[in-house]
């Protein structure tokens, strides 16, 4: 029974970790571009990134299913290694989670980059720092609170997703059966004890996340004063 409970927990942590990592790698350049670009259409891109905030997860899940399925680009991608589809796989779940949690990572990083302003980067340029060096040695360290917030939110939000997982992942133990789905499953089959343990764990986890966020913000506010 314990192993039974453990499996969705481990899978969820793996999924959230992978997703956060991918989001930091993909989201940082997007956030940088949104913060610095003067292109008139950048707010359209920002809106696209923010869409998962308001779309019902099932809508998102439906389109992801189409994209990842055998007839979509995901299926074409999967055929490269002989698979038929990306839906109902762990990789597909990571992809879906990346899209779903994108706004929670991009927005805080974008805000942090914007808060730096032009001046520190101008100073770096007058000290012979190439744009690349200025980015790594000035912009990224100064935006650290934004990265922390983004990573924590991205991780937590991925842990808490349900609708998208159900649409594109299904309920395959060890592959796509994550925490939220497992709880649903236990309730469906009247295994309240297990549901209780997992649900209680989630409450504790959520409390820890929100508390750590607040502590980060407080520390940053003090450092800035």
């Amino acid at each position: 029974m314990t192993a039974d409970l453990w499996q969705p927990v481990r899978l969820t942590i793996e999924l959230a970790s992978f997703t956060t990592l991918v989001l930091l790698i993909v989201g940082t350049p997007i956030a940088w571009w949104l913060a610095r670009s003067k292109a008139w259409w950048k707010e359209a891109v920002a809106t696209l990134v923010a869409m998962p905030l308001v779309l019902p997860p099932t809508v998102l899940g439906f389109y992801l299913l189409v994209v990842l399925g055998p007839d979509g680009p995901g299926g074409a991608l999967a055929s490269l290694w002989g698979a038929r589809t990306l839906a109902f796989t762990f990789e597909g779940l990571v992809l879906g989670s990346v899209v779903y949690s994108m706004p929670f990572v991009v927005q805080p990083i974008r805000n942090a980059f914007q808060a730096i302003g032009d001046r520190p980067l101008e100073v770096a340029a007058t000290l012979r720092a190439s744009p690349r060096r200025a980015f790594w040695t000035v912009a990224v360290p100064l935006a650290t609170p934004g990265f922390l917030t983004g990573a924590v939110l991205g991780f937590a939000h991925t842990v808490g997703e349900f609708g998208v997982v159900l649409m594109i992942g299904g309920n395959i133990p060890g592959k796509t059966k994550v925490l939220s789905v497992a709880i649903y499953d236990y309730v469906e089959t009247s295994r309240w004890y297990e549901a209780n343990i997992l649900a209680g764990g989630m409450v504790v986890f959520a409390f820890a996340v929100v508390l750590s966020m607040m502590l980060i913000e407080k520390r940053v506010a003090r450092a800035g004063a």
Partner: protein
């Protein structure tokens, strides 16, 4: 003789707020050149254009023979050998003072570095930073921050130092604390400095060359003393008109505490701290402190009386006249402000020999 190798020559044209920037000047590529003018006249924009932080399509920037911008090319700011000191110190808050100072320093010692380059220890000593090195910028006073910013710019081994009103965000006391450091820089380093300011007292203490700006245009450019004593320019007619020039210490009289200075001809006696012969001193003589007599005065308490010839007279307001004087036989031009009535009573006219009585001479550097 001015050749491209020893001049800084720039021209920028483009929109600037409510008016157009159309500024061009040539300045020597040594000493301190001040860009002086009222707030919003475009002097900061000119400096940013020289640094490459701002790009006007219609621009040319030629520094000591290197073209940084012309019709076809534009060197990005990080490829320009400049140091830039902003109005606010703008230190990196996440780095210690030491790491701020070293941010732009070449990572490998440059074997081609000549004697002009300053080392870390020298900069720390020159700017009084030795005790601050391990502090965080947030624990520094405004004056300390600005000194770190200057040191950081110097350690990037610039060929041209750009300073954008580095003292304007500081209070009077802190200003007086930093000015001596800047004067020492001027003495110790041969690198040219472009210094933006709207405070004439800073300009008088630091500048060798002056570029006057107004409404996006350069109205005059030339050696500081020449522009100060040009009656056609607003400086000579202003309330605190003065001339400033460099003089060399000849000797110090310990009994009376008097310094004898050689001002390129005339000798000036000034009560001041002891100084070694040969030391350079920046002297300022206000127009209001100079009076004129036709005969050599006798029995006067005034120490400095120079024979001079009147170069020109021009009315200032309704009841005063500003007189430009050339000391005889030679020496830097002086200004005297006299009342219209005195000018009429003495029948002052151009070419006339007079005696200039200098009541007060102030030294910018002690």
């Amino acid at each position: 003789m001015s050749t491209p190798e020893n001049t800084i020559s720039v021209a920028f044209r483009g929109p600037l707020g409510r008016f157009r920037l159309d500024a061009a000047f040539t300045a020597p590529a040594r000493g301190v050149t001040a860009l002086f003018g009222p707030s919003g006249c475009g002097k900061t924009t000119v400096l940013r254009c020289i640094a490459g932080l701002q790009r006007l399509a219609d621009g040319r920037c030629d520094v000591a023979g290197d073209v940084w911008q012309d019709g076809t090319s534009f060197l990005p700011p990080h490829r320009r050998p400049i140091g830039y000191v902003f109005q606010e110190a703008s230190l990196f808050p996440h780095l210690s003072v030491r790491k701020n100072l070293l941010y732009g320093a070449p990572r490998r010692p440059d074997p081609a570095a000549n004697g002009n380059a300053v080392g870390f220890d020298e900069v720390a000593e020159l700017l009084g930073l030795a005790k601050l090195l391990d502090r965080s910028p947030s624990n520094l006073s405004g004056g300390e921050r600005q000194r770190v910013a200057v040191g950081r710019a110097l350690l990037s081994r610039p060929k041209l130092l750009l300073m954008d009103e580095p003292l304007s965000a500081l209070d009077r006391l802190t200003k007086d604390e930093i000015l001596p450091f800047l004067e020492r820089l001027h003495d110790r380093l041969s690198m040219p400095i472009l210094y933006v300011s709207h405070d004439m007292s800073e300009v008088e203490r630091l500048a060798d060359h002056l570029v006057l700006m107004q409404g996006g245009r350069v109205t005059a450019s030339g050696p500081l003393a020449a522009l100060q004593s040009d009656p056609a320019l607003p400086l000579a007619g202003s309330r605190d008109a003065a001339v400033s020039f460099d003089a060399t210490v000849e000797r110090f009289d310990a009994v009376d505490g008097l310094l004898t200075l050689d001002a390129g001809g005339p000798r000036l006696l000034i009560p001041a701290a002891p100084a070694a012969p040969g030391a350079r001193r920046r002297v300022r003589i206000a127009a209001g402190d100079v009076s004129l007599t036709l005969e050599p005065p006798r029995g006067t308490s005034i120490l400095n009386i120079l024979p001079a010839k009147i170069v020109s007279l021009s009315a200032v307001g309704h009841h005063e006249v500003i007189v430009v004087l050339a000391p005889e036989p030679t020496g830097p031009r002086l200004l005297a402000r006299v009342t219209r009535r005195s000018a009429a009573a003495l029948a002052l006219a151009a070419g006339q020999p007079v005696h200039a009585q200098i009541k007060g001479v102030s030294l910018a550097m002690e």
